[in-house]
Structure formats: C-alpha cells, structure tokens
C-alpha cells in the first residue's frame, strides 16, 4: 500500500521533471555553450586564442587524467597490486617542469600579439564617449552634436512574469548605439557614479567605466547588424537591467541616421529654449 503510494508520488515527480525539460526548448538555449566568434577582427583573434588554449588544456587533461585512470584501474589492492616503493627522481621533476614551461611560452606568444593590437586605439575614424550611470548608458558622439541615453526597453510586466517574454528579453534598449560598419570606432568609457563595465560579447572585449577616469577601447565591426550585451561590473540593484545594443549600419545608412538624429536633437533643444 505505502510502496504503491510512494511509486505514484515518484511517478508524479518524474512527470514534472520531464515536463520541465520538455518546456525547455521553448527558449532553445542548449547551444549557449561557447564564446561567440564575434564580428570584429579582434573578437575573431580572441576566439582563436580561446580555442587554442582550450584544446591545449584538453590534451593535457587527457594525458594526466588518462594516467590517473589507468593507475586507478591497474594498481588496485583488490586486484593484488603490490606497491613499489620508488620515489624522488630529479630527472623526472626537471622534465615535468620544463615541458609545461615551454607550453606556456607557446601560449604567451600569440596572446602578446593580440593584446598589443587590442590596446592600440590610435587612428580611429570616430569617437563615442560612453558614460555609465545607475542604471543606464549615455552615448555622446564626439565632434557631432549628438548624445542620448540608452535605457532598458523590456517592460516590467515581462520581468515580473505577468507577460510573455520577448526573444530579446533584457537585451533591448530604447536608443541603440549606432555606428558605421567597417570603421575603427574608439570608445571612451567613464562613469557618473559607481564602476560599470561595457561589454558586448560579439565585439570581443569589455572595459570598466570608472568614475573620474577615462578608459579607451576600440571596435571595428565588419558587417552591419545588431549586437547585444550588458553591464558586466556589479553596480547595484539595477545591474542586471542595463543592456547594451550596438547597431552597425552601412556608412551611407549611418550618415542618414546621424543627420536625422542631429535634426531631431536640434528641434528638441530649440523647443526647450522657447519654453524657457
């Protein structure tokens, strides 16, 4: 009787678990497995570096864990293994110090090259100043009269589970950062309150926005498209709710957008002036 009840309870639990897993694919997230290759020359270099080191680690892992598992299977007392008493071998110690050292040198060389390219912000085609606030971003196009705030556009109802979530849940903003494709864009990062970090995985880099300091990074997006990220440094209650959306447009479309933005901004400021 009681075993029966236990069985039916177990079955109910299992059905629940199955339903849970079955409900999963609605979000289709099983493929969120690896770093994106990204859309800039830098992000591709970083991806290759990441994969290179990952594979080196996998190979070392296979060798080391292989030796361990072999020993565990082969040298068990229950199979009559007798312990030999060897220990201390300077030769072996030197070998397993030198080989890893050489592998590390092999990793450091390509990493150094990539790093030097990443840190070279010279000769940019344009500059945008990015300022982090609790909890929104502000973008100012240097040398153009264009600046605006960029806020989370996901409705509160979706966050509170009162409404179906969009596919870009928490990754949509009211005003996107628009940049021309195939141009070297320099970003100057700072903050108006606490430390934030500006990160779009597809662009291959993140950097902190620190109050009182100006940091630099650059991106060169090869193809037009929309790329999404978010603040990566804990900045308080709304940290999870300050997304970044970058839209790369073709140079012509970018110019068009810039003119529209300028006109709109000039109109608003003249209205403000009139009202005063």
């Amino acid at each position: 009787m009681s075993t029966l009840r236990l069985k039916s309870r177990l079955r109910a639990l299992l059905t629940g678990a199955v339903a849970l897993v079955a409900a999963g694919p609605a979000y289709a997230g099983w493929d969120a497995l690896n770093m994106p290759k990204g859309v800039t020359p830098i992000s591709k270099e970083v991806f290759d570096l990441h994969m290179l080191i990952l594979w080196i680690c996998v190979i070392i892992g296979v060798v080391v864990f292989g030796a361990m598992i072999y020993s565990i299977i082969r040298f068990r007392k229950s199979k009559g293994a007798e312990a030999s008493q060897f220990h201390e071998s300077t030769t072996v110690e030197i070998i397993w110090t030198i080989i890893p050292f050489l592998i590390l040198v092999g990793m450091a060389i390509p990493a150094t090259g990539t790093l030097i390219t990443m840190e070279d912000t010279a000769q940019a085609d344009m500059t945008v100043k990015v300022t982090g606030y609790q909890w929104k971003w502000h973008y100012q196009y240097m040398d153009e009269d264009v600046d605006f705030y960029s806020n989370l556009a996901t409705p509160t109802d979706q966050i509170q589970d009162r409404q179906e979530k969009d596919s870009d849940y928490l990754r949509e903003v009211d005003n996107r950062l628009v940049v021309p494709a195939d141009s070297k864009v320099r970003l100057l990062l700072t903050s108006g309150d606490v430390i934030h970090a500006w990160w779009v995985p597809d662009l291959g880099m993140k950097k902190d926005a620190i109050p009182g300091f100006v940091n630099e990074m650059w991106v060169k997006i090869e193809e037009p498209g929309v790329y999404r990220g978010q603040c990566a440094e804990l900045c308080g209650r709304g940290h999870g709710f300050m997304p970044i959306v970058v839209e790369a447009k073709s140079p012509e479309a970018y110019q068009q957008w810039l003119q529209q933005r300028k006109t709109a901004q000039a109109e608003t400021s003249s209205q403000v002036a009139k009202a005063e």
Binding site: A67, F75, A83, H87, P100, L170, A232
Partner: protein, 523 residues
C-alpha cells in the same frame, strides 16, 4: 609518572559548556573551529540556494534584486571567512601538534582567543542582514564607490572583517610558533609531513596579507565617515587603487585557501596508495614557489580596469608561471598513485576527485590568465565556474577528505563507510551538475552577479540549480555521518588505515586529551 599524579586531576576535560569557553586544548579548539565552519557552511549554502532558486528561470520570482546582491555578497564572505578558512584552522589545530609530536599549540591561551573572536565576528556579519538598508550588496570584494552606498551595515561589515583578520593573524602566529619551536627531537623541517609544511607557508601568507585587507577596509571606513578621499576621484583619490590593494590581499588569500588542501591531499594519496609521496622535496619547493608567485599576480583579477600594456603583459606572464609549480604538484600526485596498491575508502575517493576537479579549475585558471581572452571571460559565469571548481571540489573536498581521514583518530570510531561512499558519489556528481554548466553560460555571455538573465541562458541555469540542491542535501548527509561517528561505531585501531604513516597514527584512537607530553623520538 608518579610525581605527575598530583596535578593529573585537572588534566581531564572539565564538563559542561565552560569546558568549551575556557579551553586551551588544541583538540577542543580544533573541534570548535570545525563545528563553527560546518554551521557557516550551512548558512552560506542556504544563501547559495536562494541565489540558485532565483536563477532557476528568467524573470524575478523569489527575491528583490537588492536582496539578491546581498545574498551573493554574504555567500562569498561567509564561505571564505566563515567556512573554508576556519575549517583549515580547525584541521591545523587538531593535526599540527600531533603530526610534529608537540603536546599542544605553542600559545594555548591565544589559541582560545583567536577562536572565540570568530563567533562575535560572524554574528555581526550575519546581523547586517537585519540592519536598515540590509546587508552589504557590493559583492564580497566590496569595491568602492558601490560599497559606500551600503546602509547602516558598512561599519559593522568592516569591524567584522577586522575581527576575522585578527583571529587569522593570531591563529597563524600560533601555527608558526608551534611548528618552529615544538617539533619532537629528530623532526627536522624536511621530515615534516606535507600538511604541516603547507600550513607553515600558509601562515606566513596570512600574516603578510590580512593587515593589507584591514588597511583597505579602514580606508573605506574613513572615506565614508571621516571625509577622506582615498578612493574618491572627486577628491583626488582613485577607485582603482582600492582594487590593487584588495587583490594584493586577495590573491594570496586564494592560496591561503588551497595550500593546506594540497597538504591534506599529499597525506591521503600516499596512505591509500601504500607508497611514499613521489617527490617530497619538490612538493615543498613547489608550495613555496606558489606562495611567492601569489604576491606578484594580483592584477590579473582586474585586467579590465584599463592598465598600461606593460602592466597587462607582466601580470599575464607572472600568472602563467603559476601553472608550473601547480603542474609539478598534480604530476607528483599522479606519480604517487602509479604502481601503488590502492584502496578506495571515502577519504581516498574525495582526494582523487580533488585532483581531477581541482585540475579542471586550474585549466580554466590558465585560460583566464591569457589577458586578451580574459577581457571576454572577466566577470562572467566562466569566472564563477572557475573559482567554484577550485574552492568546492578543491578546498572543500580536501577538508571533507581530511575529516574522513582523521575522524577515526579523533573519535575512536570508524565512520559509516557505506554512507560515506553515498556522500562521495552524491557530492561528486552534483558538484559537476552544479558548476560545469556555468562554464557554458559564462562563455556564451552571462555576466556574474545578475538576478535575471536573457532567455538563451535558461537551460543551463536550470541544470545548475538542480545540481545546487542535490549538492546541498549531500552536505547535510555529511553532517549526519560525522555526528553518527562521534556517537559510536566500529572501534578504530591506532593505525586506523593500513598504509598510514606519521606520528598521529602512533597515539591511541581516540587520541587522548593530551598527547606527546613526553616528546617522541623521530628517526
């Protein structure tokens, strides 16, 4: 012996609660540390479950984002300062005197003080949850300017950190004094068990860096209440300087939590392989090298703050170098097992899992050392997965292995081997279910310390949450197994384990209240 009869009467433990309050006995104090660490592990674990429950699905279901941030902050502080560190000090208290043939710790009254500071520190720390504005919510690294937005809790947090630091420094002085002064005749430094060696080096690290942390948090205190601007750019200060000072403490701190673990594993693997440790001398030197390197790699925790290229290159190269002595350790453990005669009791199972899973944490550490790639990994769940691999199946598994290994010596009873194996398999499986998927979501772009996330991260977060509950329940089982062994069980022999070597296995089981009142001779 006859002249000792007169004062023998006060040598047994007094009964009642006052035994624990006034005790200066290293075994009692070791027990106090371990019990406290287990309680804090449960509290910190409950906080982790709050975090994992909120992250079970996208959207906000359980807690407010501010409370979520309080949970991540408190979970980190409690697990580091409340669970892992006191557990290692507890093991040192029990084992170091017995392993070097000393009658007790060198400074028994200070030993009592360094433990009894802790409950007050922890009550104050956990108490911040109930203060106006709630607990600190800026992450365990308490970076300004964010931490300066904390409510009434800030001075209590800082005072709690001061107390924990004081306790650690006193504990470290005691361990150094014991090891350097109270070794039995013939126990030269290079004959000391590796657990003793690793703790000696760890104690020096503690003395070197805990005052640095105390300085950093004191500057936070004066910035908040006394008008200074150490970390305020508006007043000529520098928020990044805090990070440099903090991580100058923080990186050695990482090794404070892993070197004693190396020591424990280096005791257990030879025992159950019935074969001496492959390279004792190189293990000692590797430990010392890691300790030295730990002081010159701190900025790899903050590659994204905008350092000069030369700085980034230096910290990348220095960090990569740590892989060399760490590799020496892992290779030595494998070489110790090779051609041994192994049995797989619970301590051995945890030790083997330690070697494999800690090495996985080491691999992700190697990846994080590569500065250009770190710009992608930094502050994501990949980092969360990395440091949980070195701290949970790393440090925590070693502590659990150590407890199973020495428990028969402490209690005189064997623990329940069947339940121990259950505990092992549940822990080993669920810890991977819990943390492995975090590598994936981190690489795919999920930042750490967020209460809600984009939809593509849902599946792996759900798996991770399932793993968290499984792992949590398994640790309750651990508490039960230890409790059961304290109450009774098969009688343990003095040697306990067939292949065990060392002074602690020469005293009776359970170890009498006072051991080695006459120093043993070590050949």
């Amino acid at each position: 012996m006859s002249e000792a009869v007169g004062h023998d009467t006060h040598h047994g433990p007094p009964s009642g609660i006052l035994r624990w309050v006034f005790t200066t006995n290293h075994k009692d104090i070791g027990t106090l540390y371990l019990v406290t660490a287990f309680i804090m592990l449960m509290i910190g674990g409950l906080m982790a479950l709050v975090i994992r429950t909120e992250l079970f699905q996208p959207g906000l279901q359980v807690v407010d984002p501010q409370f979520f941030n309080q949970m991540t902050t408190m979970h980190g502080l409690i697990m580091i300062f409340g669970a892992i560190m006191p557990a290692f000090v507890g093991l040192a208290n029990w084992q170091v005197p017995m392993m070097v043939g000393a009658p007790d710790m060198a400074l028994p009254r200070m030993n009592n003080l360094s433990f009894w500071i802790l409950p007050f520190a922890f009550v104050m720390l956990v108490g911040t949850l109930f203060m106006p504005g709630g607990a600190p919510a800026s992450g365990w690294t308490i970076y300004p300017p964010l931490v300066l937005q904390t409510g009434a809790a800030l001075p209590f947090l800082i005072f709690a950190i001061h107390l924990m630091g004081l306790s650690s420094i006193m504990g470290a002085i005691n361990i150094i004094a014991t090891i350097l002064n109270l070794r039995a005749p013939g126990m030269t430094l290079m004959k000391m068990p590796l657990f003793v060696w690793t703790w000696l080096i760890t104690a020096f690290l503690l003395i070197a860096v805990m005052p640095v942390l105390a300085g950093a948090v004191t500057m936070l205190l004066t910035d908040k209440f006394f008008g200074t601007s150490f970390f305020n750019a508006g007043g000529g200060g520098d928020p990044v300087m805090y990070q440099h000072i903090f991580w100058f403490f923080g990186h050695p701190e990482v090794y404070i939590m892993i070197l004693p673990a190396f020591g424990i594993i280096s005791q257990i693997l030879p025992t159950f392989s019935r074969k001496p440790l492959f390279g004792y001398t190189s293990m000692v030197y590797a430990t010392a090298s890691i300790a030295f390197l730990s002081f010159i790699v701190w900025a790899h925790h903050m590659f994204t703050v905008g350092m000069p290229l030369a700085g980034e290159l230096f910290f990348m190269y220095a960090t990569l170098l740590i892989a060399v002595p760490t590799g020496v350790k892992v290779f030595n453990w494998v070489a110790t097992m090779y051609r041994g005669s192994m049995t797989f009791e619970t301590p051995m199972l945890f030790a083997i899992a330690f070697v494999i899973l800690f090495t996985i944490g080491g691999f992700s550490g190697l990846m994080l050392a590569i500065t250009p790639a770190d710009f992608q990994y930094h502050d994501t769940y990949f980092v969360v997965a990395h440091f949980h691999y070195v701290l949970v199946p790393g440090a925590l598994f070693s502590i659990i292995a150590g407890v199973y290994y020495w428990l028969p010596k402490w209690t005189g009873h064997m623990y329940d081997e069947t339940l121990g194996k259950w505990h092992f398999w549940l822990s080993a499986i669920f810890v991977n279910v819990l943390f492995f998927p975090q590598h994936f979501v981190g690489l795919a772009g999920m930042p750490r310390r967020i209460p809600d996330y984009a939809l593509q991260f849902t599946q792996w977060n759900q798996i991770s949450t399932v793993g968290a509950f499984g792992f949590g329940i398994a640790q309750v089982l651990f508490g039960y197994i230890v409790w059961k062994a304290v109450r009774g069980g098969a009688k343990a022999t003095d040697e306990v384990w067939e292949g065990a070597k060392g002074l602690e296995w020469q005293v009776p089981s359970p170890a009498p209240y006072h051991t080695f009142e006459e120093a043993p001779e070590v050949k």
